[in-house]
């Protein structure tokens, strides 16, 4: 049964497992081309849809695997962490992050990989991120109520929102992803032809 009983590993063992997990994560991000801000920014100018393809392939892969294991009864019910929904801070924060993403060319994970491979723009993005987080910490009292309570709905999932079973949402998410992949390929080939690249 998953998740694994990690208590037996001890403190140090668990922390080593986190380093190993992070290692594979960072390795894959770099292999995907996300240590390079040009690859990431291209997503927003429709020339290279790599970000969307990698992200949604990863999401549907994990979603399908976890769903299958759950149906097979191999995951203890209610044990997987589901990010609580804080709707408006999430949407506003996401929007602000999106703006920072297209200006800076990275997101937090990819900037770490970029910095680790000695890209100066990645290092500056990480430094900027630290500054932004400090500013957030210092200014939070000004909008504490908004942060804590606005659109706070606790653990809320898409099946609950739409009032359908999880299986239906899983199928719809896969369909959405496949539709976006088809659109991404079409857009890329349009610009390849148009720009003769």
């Amino acid at each position: 049964m998953f998740p694994l009983p990690l208590e037996r590993l001890g403190h140090v063992g668990v922390n080593i497992l986190y380093v190993v997990t992070g290692f594979f994560f960072g390795f894959m991000l770099e292999q995907a081309g996300f240590g390079n801000s040009r690859n990431l920014a291209s997503q927003f100018y429709l020339r290279d849809m790599r970000v969307l393809k990698v992200m949604f392939t990863a999401i549907i892969t994990a979603m399908l695997l976890l769903f299958a294991l759950e149906v097979a009864g191999l995951i203890r019910p209610g044990t997987l962490y589901i990010n609580p929904t804080h709707l408006w801070p999430g949407i506003l924060g996401g929007f602000i992050f999106g703006v920072g993403f297209v200006i800076g060319g990275y997101c937090p994970g990819t900037s770490l990989v970029s910095a680790a491979t000695l890209k100066l723009d990645g290092i500056f993005f990480v430094l900027g991120m630290v500054l932004g987080m400090l500013v957030f910490g210092e200014t939070l009292p000004l909008f504490q109520a908004f942060f804590d309570a606005s659109g706070a709905m606790g653990e809320l999932t898409l099946p609950q929102v739409f009032g359908v079973s999880k299986g239906v949402v899983v199928v719809l998410v896969v369909a959405l992803a496949l539709g976006m992949f088809a659109a991404a390929e079409a857009v890329e080939s349009y610009f390849r032809k148009k720009e003769g690249g």
């Binding site: 770099e30 680790a116 630290v130």
Partner: protein, 172 residues
């Protein structure tokens, strides 16, 4: 480091492998991947060390740090240590470990670094407000169908696409 630069992995293949890592994280730890949380914890730890007076008050970042008995004994810190190591090894074996600055064709290095710093600051503020980033919200929350994570994901793409036109000189 003189090794020839290898091509990037096919995005769908990379996506499947990344999805397997994400699944592994859920199966081992019961939660997904994270990147911004580790950076926030390190930032708060540094702030607490450099400004102990200030830290005794209730800054959010410092509060985050003090919620752990040992500030650096936090899974997110170990995870980003691994992320940096994994990126380093991948870059090394693929011939991509070298000092350089990625930028648009019409932007100076100096300007690029300034915009990277600015973008990083805006992104850093945004991910704290949203309680997570592309990894901890979009990928992890997305895979377990969290409603808030999906709303976040569309907001990120919305913000980036809407703003892309205004900063097109940075990248094209």
């Amino acid at each position: 480091m003189t090794r020839k630069m290898l091509p990037y992995l096919n995005p769908y293949v990379a996506g499947v492998l990344l999805g397997v890592v994400l699944t592994g994280s859920f199966l081992v730890f019961g939660h997904g991947l994270g990147a911004s949380g580790g950076v926030a914890t390190l930032t708060g730890t540094a702030q607490a060390a450099l400004m102990p007076e200030h830290a005794s008050r209730s800054s959010y970042l410092v509060g985050l740090v003090l919620s752990h008995e040992h500030p650096l004994d936090n899974w997110a810190v170990f995870e980003i240590l691994g992320v940096a190591l994994g990126g380093l090894v991948s870059g090394l074996i693929s011939g991509r470990l070298r000092v350089e600055t990625f930028r648009g064709p019409n932007l100076s290095v100096r300007a690029r670094l300034g915009f990277a710093l600015l973008g990083g600051a805006i992104a850093g503020f945004g991910v704290r407000l949203a309680r997570g980033c592309t990894s901890s919200q979009a990928l992890s929350g997305g895979a377990v169908l969290s409603a808030g994570s999906w709303a976040f994901m569309f907001a990120v793409f919305g913000g980036a696409y809407l703003f892309a036109w205004f900063v097109r000189k940075l990248w094209t």
